[in-house]
Amino acid sequence: MLSNLGNILLFLNVILSFSIIYVANRNLKISGGVDKNIFQLSLIQSTSIIICFFVLIAAFIVSDFSLITVYQNSHSLKPLFYKIAGTWGNHEGSLLLWAIILSIFSFLFLVYNKNHPKKFRLLTLIIQNILILGFLFFILFNSNPFSKISPIPSEGLGLNPILQDPALAIHPPLLYVGFVGASIYFSAAIASLITNYSEKSFSLSIKNWVLISWCFQTLGILVGSIWAYYELGWGGFWFWDPVENASLLPWFAMTALFHSLIVFEKRNLFYFWVIILCLITFTLSVTGTFLVRSGILNSVHTFASDPTRGIYILIFLSLMIFGSIFLLFKKYKKENYDLNRNSKETFILVNNWFMMFYLITVLLGTIYPIFTDALTDNKISVGPPFYNAIIFPVVVVFLLFMALGPKAKWIKNKFENIRTYILILTGAIGLNLAIIFFIKSFSLLSNFIIISALFLIISSLMDIAKALKKNKLDFARIISHTSFGFLVLFIGLNDIFTLEKDYNIKLGETKKFENYSIQLQNLDLKNYKNYQAVIGKLEIKNINSNQTNILNPEIRIYDKPKTLTYEAAIKTSLIKDYYLTMSNIDRSDYYNIKFQKKPLMAWIWISVIMIVVGGSIRLFGNAKNN
């Protein structure tokens, strides 16, 4: 029953998209305002796709195993929360979520851009609906979440246990709002090219959408990292895994885009560059999807891979890319810039320059193994050491520019007091020396990173002091930039300070290292609703301060599907996290325990949240001004 209802709603959406395209196209040719029917059709479209998604959620809640998707990804004994989260924890359901975001953004863009030319608005709507149709056809003919299975199985296969986690349950929707949200400025950019709508006001139509998608993308990356930290049990939060990279690529493009948009809005420069970035962002989102869903890449996220999907997405992607490139070449007019070396415009270009460098490095690292595999049959791995070696030295310079850039004025900047910068730099170096003194370890690169991060932080804080005097404070920028400085600083410190020890230990045994002792005091076997757990009780004692902490790592044995997972025990405090994992060793009564002391973890998360806070302040500020 639910299957039929879902399919009917999907077909209804196809019809609605075609009708919107038809009516909008007819409306283009006549004068007057935008046809009222279009608003209604668009609203019905959004509503019906949401209902369609609720139908799927309902199928998950009542465990309707006549649907293949539910059968493959759920189980009647699963907690309700994960039954619901299971809806988008799989390929088919997540595509439906994509379709929702595409439709809602399409509707809201239409509603909130009344001041822009009718032609531009209608064309954006038409392009967006072509994208929606592309996804709907993909859903209907290849990845239909409402496909039936017969005979109806009595029980489902269950959701992969490592996906049963609150952070994982919310991070895909956040990321999807981010990179599917990018579709709306992709459509707007195409519409702008076609209708020659290249005035400054074009930037107003898209800038809030860029900010919204950027905020969600950042949050999505954050929550995904937190999930990796809690759930994957290796104590890190970023592994330069292909799927992580896929979420980072559009982020670089978005970041470059909203910086360039500032120049476009103020000085009417960089129109084509802004357009290119709009096109790149969504293209990269789809590329990421292609890489992940086609199963071409080996990664921790292999929840959804199937070659036939890959081919469909590849065709879709190629059409997008060739269409965009064709249109760009047709409409491209040479723009002449005559920028002053020391001006805000130039500094923003520098931001874009670095963003493109990061983007290309990460893209290259992600897809290079595919090429070597195909061309030479030699499969290589491109992992953290590559990215660290290429990216981090450049971050040092980037942070310095990030500190200086915002101080520059439009058009022409007077050289500011060099002495202030020297003072800030001296302060940063001094603080860094203090850090070296306390940890007694030294690596030139990490110290350069710390110095440049401190430079950015101090100079942003001085900006606040100066701006407060003049009563002209750009909170959004200062918060985001300062937090970014803190983020790099905390990541750097965390990396240097981390203490990691690995032991094989028996019940009752104690191990000592540095000024810590660690004892396996007890092992407990417990039964839960959908798994069994061996829970260890370990005491970590700081010998100097005589503080003790009890940590309880678990080894979980899940029934459906049968899997063994290792749950880390984490003790978070403002200064440091204790991170402990335990695993059994076959054919022995020893347990392997891995203990890590990770300083300032909480502050890494807080910094990212503050970066998003900065973005949101800008967003609300824009909304108020409109």
Binding site: N298, V300, L339, W353, L364, G383, P385, V394, V397
Partner: protein, 119 residues
């Protein structure tokens, strides 16, 4: 152009600081080796039998006095390049290592071309 010079200096020094570390850290090596039977995990993160074996092999190699790079080479020879997370710098991978910097330098020239020739 000062910037690129500075950059080269940084790269040079970062390499230098790696070379300065004489002692071989098994944890670092474990992190840079892929667990071949797992999904996207390193030897250090994995609890599999394979990972345990590799850890023992690494320990033996360190005891034999092998350097970090020699251990990676040993692993590549035995299990293929797929096992090492840091791709070697050879003809096949040269584009991977060099292209990012070419982009960076090219981008610098590109921006330079937009600037006024005289202040």
């Amino acid at each position: 152009m000062k910037l690129n010079l500075l950059l080269l200096l940084f790269i040079f020094f970062s390499k230098f600081s790696f070379a300065a570390e004489k002692t071989v850290d098994p944890n670092l090596i474990h992190k840079n080796l892929r667990c071949l039977v797992c999904q996207g995990q390193s030897i250090s993160d994995s609890n599999s039998d394979f990972a345990q074996t590799i850890k023992l092999v690494v320990k033996d190699l360190i005891d034999e006095g092998k350097t970090e790079n020699e251990i990676y080479e040993f692993m590549s020879d035995k299990y293929g390049d797929w096992i090492v997370f840091k791709p070697q710098f050879n003809t096949q991978n040269s584009l991977l290592w060099i292209l990012p910097y070419i982009v960076l330098i090219f981008g610098g020239f590109f921006i330079y071309s937009f600037l006024k020739k005289r202040q």
